[in-house]
């Protein structure tokens, strides 16, 4: 197990980095507001994985788990508020297309 550690670490790190890329790609390319939030969720997952990994390889599992739990709670609040805002947008303009949210420019 111990000699596998760097490999495990690097494997999941690659996974997390790819999740990061996926999340940003989604955030940038999509026009749908809900999908943008899904992109954010993927980013959050990537970061959670990073933190757990860091705890795992340094042996500070408890701390890492504590941080991860806090992080999950905070992110769920953020997403809830964001979804609320998206719903309000839908109520106002009957659409969740991000291209319609460009009134404030310049």
């Amino acid at each position: 197990m111990t000699n596998e550690l760097p490999q495990v670490f690097w494997l999941f790190s690659i996974g997390a980095i790819l999740l990061l890329i996926t999340g940003f790609y989604c955030l940038i390319m999509t026009y749908n507001l809900v999908r943008a939030l899904i992109g954010l969720e993927i980013l959050t997952k990537s970061v959670t994985l990073f933190i757990i990994l860091a705890g795992y390889v340094t042996g500070r599992m408890a701390l890492a788990q504590a941080l991860a739990i806090t992080l999950i709670i905070i992110e769920v609040v953020v997403i809830a508020v964001a979804v609320g805002i998206v719903l309000c947008v839908y109520k106002n303009i009957k659409s969740i297309d991000g291209r319609l949210l460009r009134n404030i420019k310049g």
């Binding site: 940003f24 955030l27 940038i28 943008a36 460009r102």
Partner: protein, 609 residues
């Protein structure tokens, strides 16, 4: 005397200004009373302080920047002058500014201006001086802005020009302080090497722009129309000249070791000569009382800069004497302009005329001041100009010619102004014009009287006020007896100007009957006939040339104006619209920007590995 008394000339007007601002507009008389009292108190105080030598210093911000004030001959002299003018203007404004809006702001601005000016004059530390200097800029901005509804454009123009030149002053102060290793003015004595001259030029720009020299003058004529009239008489005509020339004199006399042969001296003299000519030509074609005066306010600065630029004691004395004289007669002229405006409701020369009989006191004051500014003996302007001529001739004939030509044109334009405004045919709506009220007359009369006193007994101000500034050593070996030849030339030039005016008036058909007796006067007739025969044609051509150059001057003037007003604005607008276009409002775009930013930061941090 307690040293901290030196703080009072700054504190009294400043506090009074704040108090005035807080008082309700309804109790107008209280405001006026406070303003009058405060300026009177300042005047009395500065007079008692005159002749003292006080160094006052308390620690201030650190970095070797102390709250250092220094009272000596020069600063005390400027203090007295500034306070006296303020007192007279407040007195005058009590009548003039009545029924005008924003009155509360006007008095407080005026008082704070006085406080700032006193502070700038007294400060013995460059940074402290800058502090007051900038404060002055603010009150100036406020004063222009409270004039007419459209005055904001002018105010901003003034602000930009003055702000830009103040930036130069800052730079100059920075360099000078760096070179000298101290910010204390009285300890600075710099040679004029490369960096030194750079510092000098930057500070000079700050000084002469405050004095209103070409090419930093374009806001003054505009302000003349927009701003309240006492402001014009107060700031551009008197106080700013005092300050600007004071600073110029300080830097050229004390801070830098200037010699008569240096290129800076030539530069100053050239600026002076150009200012004289360009502005006076502009003045000649003006059709508005106040605008005409404003251009003269610029033109006369040329003499002061020319005088100081000669770096000869006689020239410096002349420049400084001219400064005080100019403050006197120009403010008197502006005050007559204000009186005319108040009584007739206009300053357009086409609508004026023939009111000299209706307003005799104003007219007489105008005559005295106009004679003074034209350099007619024995009024004060004559003596100071003589000294400047003398110095200019010593340094180069061309400067002398420019100066004497300026005198000629000045005289011509004032003859025109006087003729058009006070003499000639009176239009019907001016039939009911009456002499203006006493509070407005008193300052005019006082100033006009001082003009005569300083002219006839010119050794009084020269010996008691001006000469101590330079000190005994520098004056050793100089005589100040008027040069007979120069006086003769001046007189001839003045007479020429008069003749020109008569002819021009006749040719233009404005019926100036009074010319007849001069035409047949025994001595003048010879010249006059000659003039009609030989001089007239070149004269006409000369007039065309003058008008052509005036036109050219106008274009240069507008060109400089354009540079300030349009070019800079257009560049800023262009950049702004590019940046605005980039902000498309799309959040994904902003995320991309952020990621690019992150990438850039990471590369910058990692490149060392």
């Amino acid at each position: 005397m307690n040293d901290s008394f030196i703080l009072l000339p700054i504190a009294i007007p400043f506090i009074a200004g704040l108090v005035v601002l807080l008082i309700s507009q309804r109790i107008q008389s209280v405001k006026e009373a406070i303003a009058l009292l405060a300026t009177a108190a300042t005047l009395g105080l500065t007079i008692t302080l005159y002749g003292e030598n006080i160094n006052f210093s308390i620690p201030w911000t650190g970095f070797g920047i102390d709250f250092a004030l220094r009272l000596y001959h020069f600063s005390a002299f400027i203090l007295v002058a500034a306070s006296a003018f303020s007192f007279l203007f407040v007195l005058y404004s009590c009548s003039f500014m009545r029924d005008k809006p924003y009155l509360n702001q006007f008095y407080s601005y005026l008082l704070i201006t006085l406080a700032m000016a006193n502070g700038a004059v007294l400060s013995d530390n460059l940074v402290l001086m800058l502090f007051f200097w900038e404060g002055l800029m603010l009150t100036m901005f406020g004063m222009i802005a409270i004039g007419r509804p459209g005055a904001y454009k002018t105010a901003i123009k003034a602000f930009i020009i003055v702000g830009g030149t103040d930036l130069c002053l800052m730079l100059g102060i920075g360099i000078a302080g760096h070179l000298a290793g101290t910010m204390t003015i009285s300890k600075i004595s710099l040679p004029v090497d490369f960096l030194g001259s750079l510092a000098f030029v930057f500070m000079m720009i700050g000084a002469i722009s405050k004095a209103g020299s070409v090419p930093f003058h374009t806001w003054i004529p505009d302000a003349a129309v927009d701003a309240p009239l006492p402001f014009m008489a107060f700031l551009p005509a008197s106080l700013e000249k005092l300050l600007g020339i004071y600073l110029l004199a300080r830097i050229s006399l004390d801070m830098f070791k200037l010699t008569a042969g240096s290129w800076i001296s030539i530069l100053l003299m050239t600026i002076g000569a150009i200012t004289i000519l360009l502005a006076v030509m502009m003045a000649l074609v003006q059709k508005d009382y106040k605008r005409l005066l404003a251009y003269h306010a610029i033109s006369q600065v040329g003499y002061m800069i020319l005088g100081i630029g000669t770096c000869l004691p006689i020239g410096i004395i002349g420049g400084l004497f001219h400064m005080i004289n100019h403050a006197l007669y120009k403010s008197c002229l502006f005050l007559t302009g204000g009186a005319v405006e108040k009584q007739t409701g206009t300053t357009d020369l086409a609508k004026l005329g023939g009111i000299g009989i209706k307003m005799p006191v104003t007219f007489v004051c105008f005559l005295i001041a106009a004679a003074s500014i034209s350099g007619v003996p024995p009024f004060n302007g004559f003596y100071s100009k003589e000294l400047v001529y003398d110095a200019a001739l010593e340094r180069g004939t061309i400067f002398y010619l420019a100066a004497i030509l300026g005198t000629f044109l000045t005289a011509a334009s004032f003859l025109k102004l006087g003729h058009a405004a006070f003499l000639g045919k009176r239009s019907e709506q001016n039939d009911n014009v009456r002499e203006t009220s006493l509070p407005m007359l008193v300052p005019m009369i006082v100033i006009a009287a001082v003009c005569i006193v300083f002219g006839v007994w010119n050794y009084l101000p020269l010996n008691d006020l001006i000469k101590p500034i330079l000190g005994e050593e520098r004056l050793a070996g100089y005589e100040f007896s008027p040069n007979t030849m120069l006086i003769t030339i001046t007189v001839i030039v003045l007479v020429g100007a008069l003749l020109h005016h008569l002819f021009a008036a006749k040719v233009n058909g404005s019926g100036y009957k009074a010319s007849d007796h001069i035409r047949h006067a025994p001595f003048l007739e010879v010249i006059y006939t000659k003039a009609e025969k030989r001089w007239f044609d070149p004269y006409d051509i000369g007039l065309k040339i003058v008008q052509g150059t005036s036109r050219l001057g106008w274009w240069i003037d507008r060109g400089i104006d354009w540079l300030y007003e349009d070019f800079a604005v257009q560049v800023a607008k262009g950049l702004s619209s590019i940046i605005k276009l980039a902000h498309t409002g799309s959040y994904s775009m902003y995320v991309v920007w952020s990621l690019i930013g992150v990438l850039f930061v990471v590369i910058m941090l990692m490149k060392s590995f």
